[in-house]
């Protein structure tokens, strides 16, 4: 347990995306074909953010984790049945579209409003977490916009590690070019952290945590505020799947020596 901590108020923003193993096909709108039928999961990078949030909360007494999620209420409920078994959190649900073609700025406005409305949230203790990009829109802008709306000037993206120093400052590793990390020291909350993969494995399902979470999840879903994202000022000319299918030359009957020579020639030419 960390000493000298009065705890963090960690708000994780994350929504649902189609299971990455599903075949995706765009249709007019734009939208995904059979979007409502596709199995959904909590966005992978948002999931990492949630696990990191729970880990930090466990280390700092007095901390609390909220998950703020904007998505179709029925789909959120399905996904929460699984997510709620992983780590303790309080859900704040918004009932609206979560597809990849929604406008991140409109999503951010709704999320910021929801964060501001959280009862008992201490902005001086606030750490705003989320995935640095989603597996749907992949905008890479949403958290920054929420952070700006909340007036947070310390923001980090592509985060893989957060450590709390003895003086309460935060040491943060962000992914930068060349396979490196930038190491920054932030005086403390409030801050925005858009997580990449982090270092934590997916927690095993814990039915006790699940039962405790679900007591709050169902009421949160029932009172989920409807949100419309009209996409004002945004229009799509086209959304297409990559058509390029390569004519693959299959080399079956060559020895390792022959193949190696061909590969080396190709690499070095």
């Amino acid at each position: 347990m960390m000493e000298g901590m009065s705890g963090y108020h960690i708000v994780v923003c994350g929504s649902i995306v189609p299971d990455p193993l599903q075949t995706l096909e765009p249709v007019a709108g734009p939208a995904l074909k059979n979007e409502a039928m596709l199995p959904a999961v909590l966005d992978p990078w948002a999931s990492h953010a949630l696990y990191e949030a729970a880990h930090l909360a466990k280390q700092a007494a007095g901390s609390k984790v909220w998950l703020v999620s904007l998505g179709p209420k029925a789909r959120l409920q399905q996904v929460m049945m699984t997510v709620a078994q992983k780590v303790p959190f309080e859900l704040v649900a918004l009932d609206g579209p979560a597809g990849g073609f929604t406008d991140a700025a409109e999503t951010a406005a709704a999320l910021a409003e929801a964060v501001q409305a959280i009862a008992g949230l201490d902005r001086a203790k606030l750490l705003l977490f989320g995935g640095w990009e989603s597996a749907s829109r992949g905008a890479g802008v949403t958290l920054q916009l929420v952070g700006e709306r909340l007036g947070i000037l310390d923001q980090f993206q592509g985060v893989d590690e957060l450590k709390v120093n003895g003086d309460g400052s935060l040491e943060i590793l962000e992914r930068i070019e060349g396979g490196k990390h930038q190491v920054s020291r932030c005086a403390g909350p409030p801050a925005v952290l858009g997580w990449a993969t982090g270092n934590l494995p997916e927690p095993k399902n814990n039915p006790q945590i699940g039962m405790a979470n679900m007591r709050g999840v169902m009421p949160a879903l029932q009172k989920a505020r409807p949100v419309k994202l009209p996409g004002d000022g945004l229009s799509f000319t086209s959304v297409t799947l990559p058509k390029q299918l390569r004519e693959t030359r299959i080399v079956k009957d060559k020895s390792p020596d022959e193949i190696a020579r061909e590969i080396v020639q190709w690499i070095t030419q």
């Binding site: 905008a139 700006e148 930038q182 945004l234 229009s235 959304v239 297409t240 190696a260």
Partner: protein, 344 residues
């Protein structure tokens, strides 16, 4: 007339990186296509060298925010600098490289200015006063072309997706833009960088070749045994001999979390695909990789692709690679390394 702002940050040596020059080339084309005026905005400890580097780009103005505070890649100070330049330029379109520094900060600046920001832009077209951008959605699985009415519109271009500006340098007078920072902007300080171990390889955009290691390297081989140490040696020798980038499929990175044998030097920084990176390299060689469409996005932006796999119907390679060698990767890579080592 729309003002198009090319915005760039300097590198530690004061120059502009290739990614910035790519954004400049696109910004110049967009300005011409819109019949607008090009303005260059530079942020860094000292921006004179960078301005000289692009002195011949045709910008009507060169605006700069300089000083020790702006050497750091930090949200608070970068946002203040970019905001000030955008206001001074009265920019309606802002084009910049999608570096880690700008990807972190420019969306927030767009919010301050009442505009919009789009990252990972891979194409921009401008004509008759209209502007359209292209980017990928659902983790590089479909490409969309779109327009926005809001201005300023910030477009962060994916590095490697555009040709770099090739013009000559020249003298340029930089108009300094004043930015006042408070302690609130300095709550964060950059204390350094952490690089992988010298013998480790990750995704390096400047490498000519990407080697993608699949889960097959850690599976049981023909003798019924796994040969993880041998696999590690083969891969590391290949990387040492070629200076290739090293990517791995998600499954291989995740095996560690599932308690299975892993290649010890792989981390999530090596991961390509759905929840990893989609690097751009001229060539890519994949060995022992499996999986269909969701996984293969990891090498979507590799120009020339070859794969080694025992399965001729491997979904990773068939229809995705130019050449699929149906062979034992252990045997082939040992021979490849021997040939590379023998080269003068």
């Amino acid at each position: 007339m729309q003002n198009v702002l090319f915005l760039a940050h300097t590198e530690p040596d004061g120059t502009l990186a290739k990614a910035a020059l790519e954004a400049l080339g696109t910004a110049a084309n967009v300005a011409a296509g819109l019949g607008g005026s090009l303005v260059a905005g530079l942020i860094g400890e000292n921006v004179k060298a960078a301005a000289g580097q692009i002195g011949g780009c045709g910008a009507a103005r060169f605006l700069g925010v300089a000083g020790p505070d702006f050497a750091q890649s930090r949200y608070g100070s970068d946002a203040a600098a970019a905001e000030a330049i955008c206001r001074a330029a009265n920019a309606e379109v802002v084009m910049a490289a999608g570096t880690s520094r700008f990807s972190r900060v420019l969306p927030g600046v767009a919010q301050r200015l009442g505009g919009r920001a789009d990252t990972h832009v891979t194409g921009v077209s401008a004509s008759n006063g209209g502007l359209a951008a292209a980017r990928w959605f659902y983790r590089q699985r479909m490409e969309g072309v779109f327009q926005r009415n809001q201005r300023p519109w910030f477009l962060l271009l994916d590095p490697g997706s555009q040709p770099a500006w090739q013009g000559s340098g020249g003298s340029a007078t930089v108009e300094p833009v004043a930015v006042t920072l408070t302690e609130a902007h300095r709550r964060t300080s950059v204390v350094g960088q952490r690089a992988p171990a010298a013998d480790a390889q990750t995704i390096r955009p400047d490498a000519a070749l990407l080697f993608v290691a699949g889960a097959g390297w850690t599976k049981k081989q023909a003798d019924g045994q796994a040969h993880v140490q041998e696999a590690e040696k083969l891969i590391l020798d290949f990387l040492r001999l070629t200076r290739a980038s090293l990517g791995s499929t998600k499954s291989l990175v995740d095996l560690g979390g599932e308690g299975q044998a892993v290649l010890s030097f792989l981390t999530h920084l090596n991961q390509v695909g759905q929840t990893g990176s989609t690097p751009r390299h001229p060539k890519g060689l994949a060995a022992c990789c499996h999986g269909e469409e969701p996984h293969t996005v990891g090498w979507r932006f590799i120009n020339e692709r070859r794969a080694i796999n025992l399965d001729p119907n491997c979904g990773w390679a068939r229809g995705k690679a130019d050449v699929l060698y149906v062979a034992d990767a252990f045997a082939v890579m040992a021979k490849v390394n021997a040939l590379l080592a023998a080269k003068p």
